[in-house]
Amino acid sequence: MRVAQSNSNLPVIERGQPISLQVNGQLVSAYEGETIAGVLFAEGRRILRHTMKDSRPRSIFCGIGVCYDCLVTVNGAPNVRACVTPVTEGMVIETQTRERK
């Protein structure tokens, strides 16, 4: 979830311009400057893919682009790291399932 001003001790929180994008066909609103992982986590959607071999759920692990666990499909291109990729207006994001693309 996004940090709520009322609930935190942080100074004023200002977010970027609101934008909208698609996640698995659903319209989702986000703020400019957020990463794909940030937006999905803010939505409470932490399962980003299922593995190809054993179909196990995966999510953010290292958070800095090293482990390649948080892969999603973006505008048709597979294996994009959700943790280091910023969202853009109209982006089409799909979580990855075990079928090989």
Binding site: V3, R58, F61, C62, C67
Partner: protein, 470 residues
């Protein structure tokens, strides 16, 4: 036509930025290559432009100063760019780099190279560590710090070292629920031996105290000598099992407790990114307390290869201050070697860095000893625990491959695919090396350094340099 340069700095974190600034101040033309969207590395990670910076103003100010200085000095930065290969050029003593990134050339040739590749959270395999909701301390901190997003509801932190307190305090400030912070190492009277190394480090001690107080005020218990040994849940973390640890960090049977949380933050220190120095063939040494390798360097941060320097956490984890000093030293040495600084000026400038270098090294050494990783930690993974997350290879499969005759990382990889996935062994490599050492009764020193091959980062096959090489 490949551009021929005097100095390329790889990595725009604290060490890389300082190196670039020091060399540019000596009138050297400097090119910096960085893998992220904006310079700063992890410590000075820039808040995404539309977001306003939060309570990190002091840090943000230092960062702005460094960014500004690089700009004033005309340092050229290729962001979002991966260095996927490095090898000797035909011209003796020069190096070729293969790049992949928007706006960057496919390759560069350079006379000197400063590698400031940084560090990443040490992954520790235990049952359930691949479940969504298990995240590294670094991952949680970056989400909070740069996006103000809380990646869960009910948190438990397990690990060792000061970052844990920082992340715990930041979660509290953001309004999250933190159930407990577990420090795997025990504190006792023996820790007083570290007092001399702490002397003079008032700012760092003050920072630690602030985090600790925030946790105390929120009533978050801090348990020493205890760690999470298992995470459980169907599709995400639902609960974790903790246990007391003995002195070598083996869990003590009968001390288990189960705690319901949805997010487990693990922070067992850091691993230096040594792919580039290994790829180039620099000599490396083993740091037993931290179970990792570092490139061997002289007093001026030069590796065993002339013209190749390594600075900052990528050459041994020591924190931001040490990284900045090492970066400046490497930048000055590179500038002197190519005649941009005369010997006397360079000697003066280098001498100025020495007292702080010694102080920060003492402090870093203390942290590596205080927050060491005990050998018992290898035993956390069970037979069916994945060691290689990417290719989903279990501990049992790796042990079987070793029993069948695999005696190196490369043979384990050939037989099981462990280490062959997209992370290229960054996550599993050190643990497979330890399994090998244990099973074959060898020193991990002889196991860890594996052949690093390009591309050292995954790049699309349509990259022109790759196609040209066909």
């Amino acid at each position: 036509m490949t551009e021929r340069l005097e100095l390329v700095v790889i990595g725009a974190g604290p060490a890389g930025m300082e190196a670039a600034i020091a060399a540019a101040e000596a009138n050297m033309a400097v090119t910096v290559i960085d893998g992220y969207a904006r310079p700063g590395g992890q410590y000075f990670k820039q808040v995404s432009p539309p977001l306003k910076s939060d309570n990190l103003t002091a840090r943000q100010k230092q960062a702005e100063f460094l960014f500004g200085r690089m700009e004033e000095l005309g340092v050229r930065v290729f962001s979002d760019t991966l260095v996927w290969n490095a090898y000797p050029a035909i011209e003796k003593g020069e190096w070729m780099l293969s790049l992949y990134g928007p706006g960057a050339p496919d390759s560069l040739q350079t006379k000197s190279l400063i590698i400031a590749s940084g560090t990443y959270d040490r992954p520790v395999p235990f049952p359930g560590w691949t479940l969504p909701g298990v995240m590294t301390a670094g991952a949680v901190q970056i989400m909070l710090k740069t996006q103000q997003i809380i990646p869960g509801h009910r948190f438990l932190l397990s690990g060792t070292g000061p970052l844990q307190l920082a992340v715990g305090a930041q979660l509290i400030q953001a309004g999250a629920e933190v159930v407990a912070v577990l420090e795997a190492n025990s504190v006792g009277l023996a820790q007083f031996r570290h007092a001399p190394a702490m002397w003079g480090q008032w700012a760092k001690l003050r920072e630690g105290w602030d985090y600790w107080s925030t946790l105390r005020r929120a009533g978050v218990p801090l348990h020493y000598g205890r760690a999470v040994i298992e995470a459980r849940g169907q599709q995400e973390v639902e609960e974790v099992v903790t246990a007391r640890l003995d002195t070598d960090m083996t869990p003590i049977p009968g001390t288990e407790q189960t705690v319901a949380v949805d997010t487990l933050v693990i922070g067992y220190g850091f691993l230096p990114s040594t792919e580039l120095t290994r790829l180039l063939g620099c000599d490396h040494d083993y740091v037993p307390e931290q179970l990792y390798y570092v490139p061997r360097r002289n007093d001026e941060m030069q590796t065993s290869l002339p013209g190749v320097y390594a600075a900052g956490d990528g050459a041994g984890v020591g924190g931001v201050e040490l990284s900045r000093i090492e970066g400046r030293i490497a930048g000055l040495a590179a500038a002197r070697e190519l005649g941009h600084l005369d010997a006397a000026t360079a000697r003066n400038l280098l001498a100025r860095e020495q007292p702080a270098l010694a102080r920060e090294r003492r402090f870093a050494r203390m942290l590596t000893e205080m927050f060491a990783i005990g050998p018992g930690f290898t035993a956390l993974a069970k037979d069916d625990t994945y060691i290689c997350r990417c290719e989903e290879v279990t501990k049992q499969e790796i042990v079987e491959a070793i029993e069948l005759g695999s005696d190196s990382l490369i043979w384990v990889k050939r037989m099981t695919r462990a280490g062959m996935g997209l992370c290229q062994g960054r996550v599993c490599g050190q643990w497979i090396a330890r399994l090998l050492a244990e099973q074959l009764n060898k020193d991990p020193v002889d196991m860890l350094l594996d052949t690093v091959r390009p591309p050292i980062r995954p790049i699309p096959m349509c990259s022109s340099e790759v196609s040209n090489n066909d």
